[in-house]
């Protein structure tokens, strides 16, 4: 064991050494210092104002401004999505914007956009109403023409030739009654024309009938195509109606009923000439409105495009500022109210970098006093930090998802770099698909630079972040595919001839009794003769189950051995005696023994039933093994295993009780500290992830 002590420390095996530091910053350089520290990403501030609510903190106004700006940005992106505008991000040639300028600009853009939206909404409503009016004119005209007694052709012609210059007010479309005295006869009969939802037409008619006591005539015609309702904006089926009635009381009743049913009345003149005149005018107005509407939409889309090209940059700026102010809120003003005091953790190797950065900030902000940065004695235990590069980062994140190691505890990511892709490959096991995966991984890795500067969708982001994981998975999959002998599920005879052949040349019993083994086993992997045979599944299932047991037991043993080295590093003899030893004995006397049985069964080719052996080891330890005996002395070994195990567990549990000793040394570090190891990314990288939650921002 001495050789292990003389080895240099393995990279990534344990957390970097951390130290507790205190920063004293003059107020004018504080913001700049925190911004630079954030971009460096190597300092975690401790929240000194934990007990204060968000509204009691110092920089609450700035945080409010940031939230307001991010709301405006979200509004812009919503509008852009709704309008379906694609804006290209022109990368570098944009000038840097000041914070105040940005705020003003955002307010301006929002105001403009809201105005444009209201205008186009109004225009759209008018447009839809005009469309309805046009429809009513055409259908009601038809109804009126058919309901009148045939007018003398001469009169009609006269009417048509007269171009009556009295134009009714082109503006009064809304809810004015279409009262018009009939030209020839029926001077007492008036009518109201309008449009109503098809679904309500029947009820409407009945209500009118009841209200006027039957003294009305209701005629309607369906609109034909779905019409956009001016108020709701949806496409609905409508019906054009004309109600003939006499008397004023009836008129008011009918109008009230129209109102309550949501029917809109449009004035339709009785004469053909006037109808055609108004129809022509409405068409003109419609085309005008269309042009205006389109122009409005173009204008708005242009504005959205210009906003959209800068949106991503602006969003990042706003997020950065919010993070800076959230961090500043964690600091305290000192007695003189001129300096901000902050405490935090940083890795020892980063101290010089941090000092440089603070120097930069002092110079940039033209402050007279420098920033004081010194180490302190810590009270709590430090957070864990692993200095990962692009290769180990993905693996460390996977391991952190299960739980972050305590400070200076062994980091399982060192072994997970290999075992995680390997176990994936054991399940994947096809070298054809493995090659496809390898090509995919190569594409991602070769275009690393280009892809890392783009904004990717959430799935591509995950795949890109795990590109080295996918590469290793692909390599191991190719290997395991060769072992399972599967190329898109087709076996090959790459490594020589199969070990199995027919009993005789004619192969008559190949489908009944099967092939026999004539040579040494296939040198690398599963024999290709198995594929497609009827007994393939029993063989492969048994093989894979036993493989899982062997691999699982060996990995568990690795874990326990790692805990031994960890206990030795911390000088924790208790852990070794009362945790490592019991765990080893327990695991190996049961599952290690099972693995041994599997290996012996394979090597000797015995027909022993291992299920039976394991179960009866507990049920009937002293009983005779009979045909399940795999080796000499097996029964004695089993009995001693059982007794050992029992004693071992009693020992372990008694020690737990006696020492009030919990099996997992409880850390007094709150979980939040542990999380710093994955949040200590540089600021720009962090903002490709979701927006950080309130108060939980670590720099």
């Amino acid at each position: 064991m001495g050789v292990f002590d003389r080895l240099p420390p393995v990279d990534h095996l344990r957390s970097e050494k951390m130290c507790f530091v205190q920063l004293i910053m003059p107020a004018e350089s504080a913001r700049l210092a925190v911004t630079y520290l954030g971009e460096l990403g190597l300092l975690q501030f401790k929240d000194l104002n934990e007990d204060k609510s968000p509204f009691q903190r110092i920089f609450v106004n700035q945080v409010k401004r940031c939230t307001e700006m991010s709301r405006k940005l979200r509004f812009f992106s919503d509008q852009i999505n709704k309008a379906g505008v694609n804006s290209s991000v022109r990368p570098v040639l944009q000038p840097d914007i000041d914070w105040e300028e940005l705020e003003a600009k955002l307010g301006e853009h929002e105001h403009d956009l809201l105005e444009m939206n209201t205008n186009s909404e109004k225009l759209l409503q008018t447009y839809n109403e005009l469309l309805e009016f046009k429809l009513v004119l055409s259908k009601a005209g038809g109804i009126l023409a058919s309901s009148h007694d045939p007018v003398a052709p001469a009169d009609r012609e006269l009417d048509e030739h007269i171009y009556n210059k009295e134009v009714d007010d082109g503006i009064a479309y809304l809810l004015e009654e279409g009262v018009h005295l009939g030209a020839t006869k029926n001077s007492g009969v008036k009518f109201v024309s309008g449009i109503i939802l098809k679904s309500k037409a029947l009820a409407f008619e009945r209500m009118l009938f009841r209200a006027t006591r039957g003294n009305m005539f209701f005629n309607h015609a369906p609109a034909g195509e779905p019409v956009t309702d001016p108020i709701s904006g949806e496409e609905v089926e409508k019906t054009v109606f004309v109600v003939f009635f006499s008397g004023d009381q009836a008129k008011s009743k009918i109008l009230k009923i129209c109102d309550s049913f949501g029917a809109t009345c449009y004035p339709v003149p009785e004469e053909m000439v006037k109808q055609r005149h108004i129809f022509h005018e409405v068409s003109l107005r419609l085309s005008d409105l269309e042009v205006t509407l389109n122009a409005g939409i173009q204008h708005r889309n242009k504005a959205l495009e210009s906003v959209g090209s800068q949106l991503w940059r602006w969003t990042i700026m706003v997020k950065k500022e919010k993070a800076v102010y959230d961090t500043l809120n964690m600091l305290n003003f000192d007695v003189t109210k001129k300096c901000l005091v902050g405490e935090g953790w940083c890795p020892i190797f980063a101290i010089s970098q941090i000092k440089d950065v603070l120097q930069c900030a002092t110079l940039r902000s033209n402050s007279q006093a420098g920033i004081i940065f010194h180490e302190m004695d810590p009270i709590d235990s430090p957070p864990t930090y692993f200095r990962t590069d692009k290769f180990t980062n993905a693996f460390q994140e996977i391991v952190d998802a299960y739980g972050i190691a305590r400070y200076e505890e062994v980091n399982p990511a060192v072994y997970s770099v290999i075992t995680f892709p390997f176990l994936f490959a054991v399940m994947f096991g096809d070298w054809g698909h493995g090659i496809c995966l390898l090509l995919g991984a190569f594409v991602l890795i070769l275009r690393e630079k280009k892809l890392s500067s783009q904004k990717l969708g959430s799935f591509m982001e995950m795949a890109f972040g795990g590109r080295y994981v996918i590469l290793l998975m692909a390599l191991f999959s190719i290997y395991c595919g060769l072992i399972y002998n599967e190329f898109f599920s087709v076996p090959f005879h790459i490594f020589g001839k199969s070990a199995y052949e027919c009993r005789e040349k004619a192969c008559s019993d190949a489908h009944t009794a099967g092939l026999i083994k004539v040579r040494d086993p296939y040198p690398f992997g599963v024999d290709p003769s198995w594929r497609g045979s009827r007994s393939e599944l029993p063989f492969l299932n048994s093989l894979k189950m036993k493989m899982s047991i062997l691999m699982g037991v060996s990995q568990m043993n690795l874990g326990i051995v790692l805990s031994y080295f960890d206990a030795k590093f911390h000088g924790n003899a208790l852990d070794i005696r009362y945790q490592f030893m019991p765990q080893m004995i327990f695991l190996n006397s049961l599952f290690g023994y099972l693995s041994l049985l599997i290996l012996i069964k394979w090597c000797t080719g015995s027909q022993a039933d291992l299920y039976h052996v394991m179960i009866y080891m507990f049920l009937d330890p002293a009983g005779d093994l009979g045909e399940n005996q795999l080796f000499w002395g097996q029964k004695e070994l089993q009995v001693s295993n059982l007794l050992n195990n029992k004693n071992n567990m009693l020992h372990y549990l008694l020690c737990l009780l006696a020492n009030n000793y919990s099996p997992f040394p409880l850390s007094d570090t709150p979980v939040a500290y542990g999380h710093c190891s994955c949040s200590m990314d540089a600021l720009p990288k962090a903002f490709y992830l979701e927006e950080t939650s309130q108060g939980g921002t670590f720099l």
């Binding site: 080895l7 240099p8 420390p9 393995v10 990279d11 990534h12 095996l13 060192v414 072994y415 770099v417 290999i418 075992t419 390997f422 054991v426 290997y479 395991c480 072992i483 399972y484 070990a499 199995y500 190949a510 489908h511 009944t512 009794a513 099967g514 092939l515 026999i516 083994k517 040494d520 086993p521 296939y522 040198p523 690398f524 992997g525 599963v526 024999d527 003769s529 198995w530 497609g532 045979s533 009827r534 007994s535 393939e536 029993p538 063989f539 048994s542 093989l543 036993k546 493989m547 062997l550 691999m551 060996s554 290996l599 394979w602 090597c603 000797t604 080719g605 027909q607």
Partner: protein
């Protein structure tokens, strides 16, 4: 026989891979040890996988029965 020879081959290739990693990516003792750990873990995993499949086929209890009529 075949088992021992192939195990030796795995051992040798593991050694060669470690030497290669030491030669090509020599970046300080800690990192070298880290790379060595990775190579050794990979070799052991691969060897274990091969050995399990080989041993399972040494003295099989069933044989392939071709499917068909």
């Amino acid at each position: 026989m075949g088992f021992l020879v192939t195990t030796l081959i795995f051992l040798l290739s593991g050694g060669v891979a470690s030497l290669l990693s030491l030669l090509c990516c020599n970046r300080g003792p800690s990192t070298n040890l880290f790379h060595l750990t990775l190579v050794i873990t990979a070799t052991v995993c691969c060897w274990m996988m091969w050995a399990i499949v080989y041993l399972a086929q040494l003295k099989p209890l069933i044989n392939p029965i071709l499917s068909g009529e």
